[in-house]
Symmetry: D2
Subunit: 409 residues, 4 copies
Amino acid sequence: MTDLLWPGDHRAGRIFSDGAFLDAMIAVEAAWSSGLIEVGVAPASARVSAEHLRGLAGKVPVEQLSVAAESGGNPVIPLVRTLRDGLGDSAAANWLHRGLTSQDVIDTALMLCAAEAFAQIQADLAEQISVLAHLTVQHRATPMVARTLTQYAVPMTFGLKVTGWLRGILDAHEQLERLEFPAQIGGAAGTLAAVAELAGSLDDPATIAVQAGCATARELGLSSANPWHTVRTSITRCGDAALGCTDAWGHLANDVLTLSRPEIGELSEGAGGGSSTMPHKANPVLSVLIRRAALAAPSLGASLHVSAADALEERSSGAWHVEWETLRTLVRRTVVAGSQASALVTGLQVHGDRMRANIDAAGDAVRSEQRTMAAIAGNAPAAEYLGATDEFIEAELSRAAAVSRGADR
Amino acid sequence: MTDLLWPGDHRAGRIFSDGAFLDAMIAVEAAWSSGLIEVGVAPASARVSAEHLRGLAGKVPVEQLSVAAESGGNPVIPLVRTLRDGLGDSAAANWLHRGLTSQDVIDTALMLCAAEAFAQIQADLAEQISVLAHLTVQHRATPMVARTLTQYAVPMTFGLKVTGWLRGILDAHEQLERLEFPAQIGGAAGTLAAVAELAGSLDDPATIAVQAGCATARELGLSSANPWHTVRTSITRCGDAALGCTDAWGHLANDVLTLSRPEIGELSEGAGGGSSTMPHKANPVLSVLIRRAALAAPSLGASLHVSAADALEERSSGAWHVEWETLRTLVRRTVVAGSQASALVTGLQVHGDRMRANIDAAGDAVRSEQRTMAAIAGNAPAAEYLGATDEFIEAELSRAAAVSRGADR
Amino acid sequence: MTDLLWPGDHRAGRIFSDGAFLDAMIAVEAAWSSGLIEVGVAPASARVSAEHLRGLAGKVPVEQLSVAAESGGNPVIPLVRTLRDGLGDSAAANWLHRGLTSQDVIDTALMLCAAEAFAQIQADLAEQISVLAHLTVQHRATPMVARTLTQYAVPMTFGLKVTGWLRGILDAHEQLERLEFPAQIGGAAGTLAAVAELAGSLDDPATIAVQAGCATARELGLSSANPWHTVRTSITRCGDAALGCTDAWGHLANDVLTLSRPEIGELSEGAGGGSSTMPHKANPVLSVLIRRAALAAPSLGASLHVSAADALEERSSGAWHVEWETLRTLVRRTVVAGSQASALVTGLQVHGDRMRANIDAAGDAVRSEQRTMAAIAGNAPAAEYLGATDEFIEAELSRAAAVSRGADR
Amino acid sequence: MTDLLWPGDHRAGRIFSDGAFLDAMIAVEAAWSSGLIEVGVAPASARVSAEHLRGLAGKVPVEQLSVAAESGGNPVIPLVRTLRDGLGDSAAANWLHRGLTSQDVIDTALMLCAAEAFAQIQADLAEQISVLAHLTVQHRATPMVARTLTQYAVPMTFGLKVTGWLRGILDAHEQLERLEFPAQIGGAAGTLAAVAELAGSLDDPATIAVQAGCATARELGLSSANPWHTVRTSITRCGDAALGCTDAWGHLANDVLTLSRPEIGELSEGAGGGSSTMPHKANPVLSVLIRRAALAAPSLGASLHVSAADALEERSSGAWHVEWETLRTLVRRTVVAGSQASALVTGLQVHGDRMRANIDAAGDAVRSEQRTMAAIAGNAPAAEYLGATDEFIEAELSRAAAVSRGADR
């Protein structure tokens, strides 16, 4: 998948593309058929593999399915019809999708796609953590001038700046660690009534219905199967976690954009981007594209919350439908920005000489706070004191090390 | 173009798709070449048609162009390279894109795509205006109960309700009438310096540079060519206008969703949508999908304003890049919702008997305001007074008639 | 009114404060009483002045009214009770608010407050237009380096940069010119039934009801009186117009923030802000506070659109209630930012020497585009060409002159 | 504190009001003075109590402080000046604020105010959990019709519906449990250099500086003191958590709004709100006001994320300034909505007879899914099966019980 108007989109590859989502819906249907067989509701002859179903779905272009999705308001209805047609007059056709509702399939597929995406994001975060931890150590004593409200403030180290970036990324990583991706198996209104009806001839059909859901979730590698048709925490938490990432990368990209201005020159991207008309330019393209993602993400997160807040009865009228494309866009863009952020930190050029030159140019003023304080305390001021930041730096390095150990496991 | 996760997306067809945007960029390059020739800067041998350029671009899959767009941060750079390669060693290759900057091409292409989209939206609005004006007249005396804060209020007519929908849609139409779609021909930093340099051997190169821009805008059917690289009103006004539409349709869809509840039953969609598991259902699918668009649109509009507010120097670092995909998504979804809204109003079923039955069930309470007022004035209360709404209704019908006359021209 | 957490808030003074809104609601009630008398529905003895009502309302602290507003969901109910209590057993008490609904009073009061606010904003825009037009002329030949994506691009003039700011502000001014502030007189559900009932003993009560509304709107200086309870264009257009302003000022503030960086030093604010701990600092505080407003405004605008899109039946359940405080906050902040932007442009220090020095430091590279073009055209490159921007500058100066002429009237 | 335009605002009382924020800033200054004394940097004579400082600050109206905040861009500068003036020529005056920067004081005060607010919100959530758990048990067997996309779906129980509300509120509670409220003690640029300079005559000044920060955080009851000037996770997580709450309450309010429609009548608010003109009305005012908060909150949350993503260098230019008022508004509104939601669930009237009547009116169609499933499985359909929801209900009741046990501790 690519997007001409979102350069870099190809970095997310097939994740959460129409094709991937279709496969995820099919995986849900296949796992559910298995679940029904496993608990004894459906006969063994109803078994059908996801691979076989993908083959059947593949005979219909995804564009055709998309068009057909409108009349019922979602793509499950035409997909099930297509799959049943393909399965012909068989037990598999007869049992396919029985007991599920469209929302079960779509929401569970959203979780499958999100889980795949966040795994990739988490890997990028871990890589960045490792690179930035290394960069922190390397530049722990590299002096530069701190800038507040765009103006010179006091001396600091570049290592401390990197620690700030690192802290944001560690926070994002921590938030992703807490994400859960539950399946949803509830039937028409979250009551599992249809499944229990299917299991009606068995002992304790209600328990069997629940077990079918659990088996399905287990097969898909998702946590739980309890219905959440109009309790959208699983969706909004994905959104919030994505924003945690783009916020952290936005901060990093802003600093690179500013510090790579020609008048400042303290940082530069490994390889700058070209211009269509100015041969000399080396634009900080990765930072530009990352900042783009960071500016655009909050609105998408807000949309997910509006949808959650608009939840109504047993299926929301429109709010639910907002989530699909919004979550997909937000998550894909986060994958893209994550990959770009890894490239940015890996290739980052640090110009210690310019940092030194700028602090010198800033002159005496940047030591005015120090001098004031020394005078208050009756001490002689330090010549150029870079701060009491060891503990803060160590705290983040220690978190970084814990992530790296976790990533090694 | 279709989108599995935004059912109905196919209604927008090719509008603002990757392919359409590519064609729009090519149209800009071709028109610019013509412009340069027209004002005498480039030789006649530099002429190249958009059709020929589309053929050259067509040899490279759009996906490949999208991937190549990342390194420079926008798709113009690889596109120009592709086109020049295709043109070989020729005057056309030599003059292609000379004097332009990537942003000229992208922003002008955005305007071309937006203009096409809004023309279709405007046509849908005009159709809805005509249908709703007719419906207003038809139901001017159809009594129903007004509901405020979900509760019974006083008697009204269904015609008045329709007038409310109509007013919103007329407001949206009015806002679209005011939209302008300017080209942008400014060169690297909006100074036209490169073009003037190209025209250097002629008399008054500055004036010639401006004329080349004007000729290009004219050929593309766009207003003006003055640069607006970091003044983004043309973009935000498109966004605001789109929201004006989705707001109006959202209101309409909300009313249909509520009034088609089985307990109320005063309206229904012409053809309801089915369910994947409940054979009896006839869901108000068009209203659901329209409400979806209306809930999601404001966030996209906000993104466009954040981008405008973040404009910086002669080209914004990230804010500009947000706009492309955001505007496309917002506008396409508006086209889709507009088409669905036309279908909704055209097929709308009005159940006057249920309106009558509900007002009767509401009982005496809905006349309590009337009775209080009559007592205050010392008058005898009217039995069931439907309101003094003629003037309001006439005002909107008159606006509707003006639109219809305009649409006939 | 002040706000400890929004420094500068006092610049908006009493505009749209709780007190101002209370006065506006009272003005609506008084004008409506007059309207009823004017058309012969109420007796002359029902007349009551806004001043007298303000005195009655003033006996109850606004805080008490605010608390009492919750039980009915809006402040009109306790206000009317307070006023009637104050008026005692009189014709004025008997006729007060008769025929109106709470929403009539609140929405009309919102329009009164918005109209006052936008008048002040418009005055600030006009001042800025005048200052920036002057600055454009003054610096039409002042060379500086253009910067795109943070990097050096080509030579330009500072006058052209100012023209860009001017264009944004002219666009904002134009949008404000188009704003309308309609009253709303519709009664319980927009049918005017109650008023007609009050007029029941007269000939043609429906027409008289409409005339009462028109008289009220006229007295309040508002356009039209036709009800728009769930057609919220008047609200969203105010929001969009406010964003048009903050977008334009954000752009301006961003440029000042960047160009007043110590390493660049091309601009500085007239008087910088201090620091609580660093005596040497002169922070670009106005720009910081303006950028704040510009970043925060789009979300508030989005809220207004969500509310408009969620309109339902004859009174929205929650969406309407969102608008009051959201519009107030957005509009007050716009007044504040407008005043700050006037101060910013008026006091702006332009350092032409630093502009010259920076363009020289940028070196030869910024002329690479020029040289390439000259080579293509077979011309000798200009030494330092500042662009063919006269026409663009003239276009904006001409718009500015038209505004100034209008402001003089 | 009250807000005429946000009815119910008084429920948040003094939380996060200007006065409370002023007190919080003073608490930070006092705790910091203590911290400096505790670690031996400042002499014992520098000690000053928060109470004494509040008295000094109280001599200046908060409005005056707000006005004075503009010139430096934040309220700390005039506050420190006021306090030092009040302390006269004393050690306390000399040592006040030494080593801190404005951002330390503001951000730490934000955390103090947020912590107080979230404690109240958490108490409301716990109460709602208890009430809803009870309601779940009570109505575990109360039949009602489920509705999806506004239409009748299948039979369910009201207990299951309550469990859905409960699940959302439990999720919100869980998210609040994870919130952390860190102090921030970093000095001008987060390096603690000024403090170390103050401690310069002691052994190991860097360690002493860190200890002073820790002592301060401890005294304020906040976690950690490590600087986070441009890593805004603590702010955005507060925002996300607030949205978690309003999402959950929005869902609840939506269901009450719909189910208390007169045509449905299954629920009603304990005490409905009145109308200014219609004596018969009993509006679901609490639900309306809660829905208001839920619709408006996501935009405020988005603003906090835009600010976090726009973080720059050692102090953000505008993005930081957005957060103060935005966080305050979001958090206060959440406190208000939380209190209203407690009132709503506590007073909720459940009309089981109407639920029964509606399911009967829905008729046979709502059992169509059941019948289809029974036929597929070759079973006899159950007459009216309310679902296999025991396990789901038990899961939430068990979480609720854990919260109640925790709240009892």
